[in-house]
Symmetry: C2
């Protein structure tokens, strides 16, 4: 036995203090750590703590939209931080409210998570919800929610808006001669997703945090457009005030979503290729842009943030709902949640 073997060894480093999981805390304790992080809605008349919340609807109406995001089909924890998830869940719902010409007032948020989830994940989601509301829709806040157990992290957000006495802007009001205009960017979010799917995965195709983080450095605009979109929420009410005849949130790509306005309005939409940038297919086909596509009477000065992309044209029975580029037909393609789902979890 050598003296060395007998000498006291340097102590093993202490393991990091085990992080509390949802299973370690009561539901009340978890909520107690989340609620203080959430923004209060100025329209909130009664907030969390009762069986339901009460929200102000000054003009006697409210706008409502709902959307669910699920780990696997809709996001990967290797790519998105909890803050990213909270941000995107808020942003996409706020955008649907703004697309009606309404000002977002409040959210309710149901979250389901595995019991092994660190509480810090829910805190991060709460911070993302807060930061998105504060940045994009000041005065909008979280007025209630629900916490459940599940195998896959799931966020269901329902968002509310105030039309402030205006008529909602529908998809069905575009008229021949109207100007087609967009507030927001085209294509970056789709490029970001392509990058993540092709270069944010390991050799087996599994989403990989380190590679995604590398992409965030080399392609910050595209990856951020996909993971933490910044839809132009304020443009929605501005478009309504300016007299927009139709509007929607561009979530499935410009071509598909313009087709929706064209179909609902019984018209065609013709894009000027010169307005769509150099990569036409990217501009027309990229998903999850979350810009606001609107049509305006031809004499309207476009409100701040909007730029002209084309013109609404009269349609025949065979061309209703179609879109054209410089007058030539364009195939709209399509996205479907049950066919387009790549289940890679990560």
């Amino acid at each position: 036995m050598t003296p060395a073997a007998d000498a006291p060894r340097s102590p093993a480093p202490l393991p990091p203090a085990a992080e509390k999981t949802l299973a370690d805390l009561s539901e009340t304790a978890v909520l107690g750590r989340i609620f203080p992080r959430l923004p209060t809605a100025s329209a909130q008349l009664l907030g969390p703590g009762d069986d339901a919340a009460v929200i102000s609807a000054p003009d006697g109406r409210f706008v409502v939209t709902t959307d669910m995001m699920i780990q696997g089909p809709d996001f990967r924890l290797a790519w998105s931080t909890p803050h990213d998830l909270g941000w995107k869940a808020a942003a996409t719902n706020l955008s649907d409210v703004a697309a009606m010409g309404a000002r977002p007032t409040a959210l309710v948020v149901a979250i389901a998570a595995p019991p092994s989830t660190p509480v810090s994940v829910l805190e991060g989601i709460a911070d993302g919800l807060r930061d998105c509301c504060e940045a994009l829709a000041p005065g909008c806040g979280v007025v209630g929610g629900d916490l459940s157990a599940s195998d896959a992290l799931t966020l269901a957000v329902t968002a509310f808006g105030d039309l402030e006495g205006r008529a909602p802007v529908l998809r069905s009001g575009a008229r021949p001669g109207d100007t087609v205009a967009l507030s927001g960017r085209l294509g970056a979010a789709g490029i970001g997703l392509e990058l993540l799917f092709h270069r944010g995965v390991d050799a087996l195709g599994v989403p990989d945090r380190d590679r995604a983080n590398a992409l965030k450095l080399t392609h910050p605009t595209e990856v951020a457009a996909q993971l933490t979109p910044v839809p132009p929420i304020a443009s929605g009410p501005l478009a309504a005030l300016a007299g927009a005849t139709a509007m929607l949130d561009v979530s499935d790509g410009l071509a598909i979503d313009a087709g929706r306005i064209a179909r609902a309005s019984g018209v065609c939409i013709d894009f000027d290729s010169g307005c769509l940038g150099e990569r036409l297919e990217v501009a027309l086909g990229g998903g999850e842009d979350h810009g606001l596509l609107a049509t305006f009477p031809p004499d309207v000065v476009l409100p701040p943030g909007f730029r002209r992309l084309g013109t609404v044209a009269a349609a025949s029975a065979s061309t209703v709902g179609t879109i054209t580029v410089d007058g030539a037909a364009h195939d709209q393609g399509g996205w479907d949640p049950y066919r387009g789902w790549d289940g890679a979890a990560g």
Copy 2:
């Protein structure tokens, strides 16, 4: 070779026409099969088809609550039919609206399901949502929704209500001397769940459809109270009109939920054992009753459907938020979604 072997054999029975799954149809086609089954809300100003719906809020406010149900933690397909799921998802949310003293006006419903799910499952859920609204809250309808892909069938319902000019009934308004009263049944839903967990499973503990169906015949009241609750929705507005000082939906058991009113109101609640039936622990501890527990000033004639259970008592610093039975302390126990979760899927 015998003649028989050469004779034409009777044709094999054709397999049942393969049922369409979500993956077989486009999202638009699935929605086209679901929407016609859903009830229209009389408060709907603009329904599905745009980025958001617009709902009437005649008194300038709306009540909102949200709740998520997930296959595994919250339901088993071996026990619940799709119709049961739609019914329960609506009923539990309507009950939270009614607990504020509001009349339910509308729902939005986000559903996530595996692509292999037969379309008939979603049709069944839609029928359950419709039948529940028509039975419990006529005029309430589904104004919008979202369809996603997931591994586990998930329903997220957000429900809205109209206070019709009244103040919301909170948990915090109970005063010493008030009468404690309930509309609805106690204990049956909890017994139903116990039965299903103990006798609705096979030898390995896996939820089993045949055994659950047998229980539906032998214990119809208890199993139905658990799988297809019929909360007394109309009692909510009636209680508010009668001057209820506090109210909530009894979802986690009478003792726990009465404790919530007591804590929020800074009082004790004393139950008369003679009002709780022969099985005291079942009445106090059974979960998911979905009755409405309310407190009324002592001189109020209880509205139809309510029966007296006890009295609100003044509390000292050490007894605030507690409940007693015939003046003796009662342990409230507790339910927590992250601790109480039995993950058995089935």
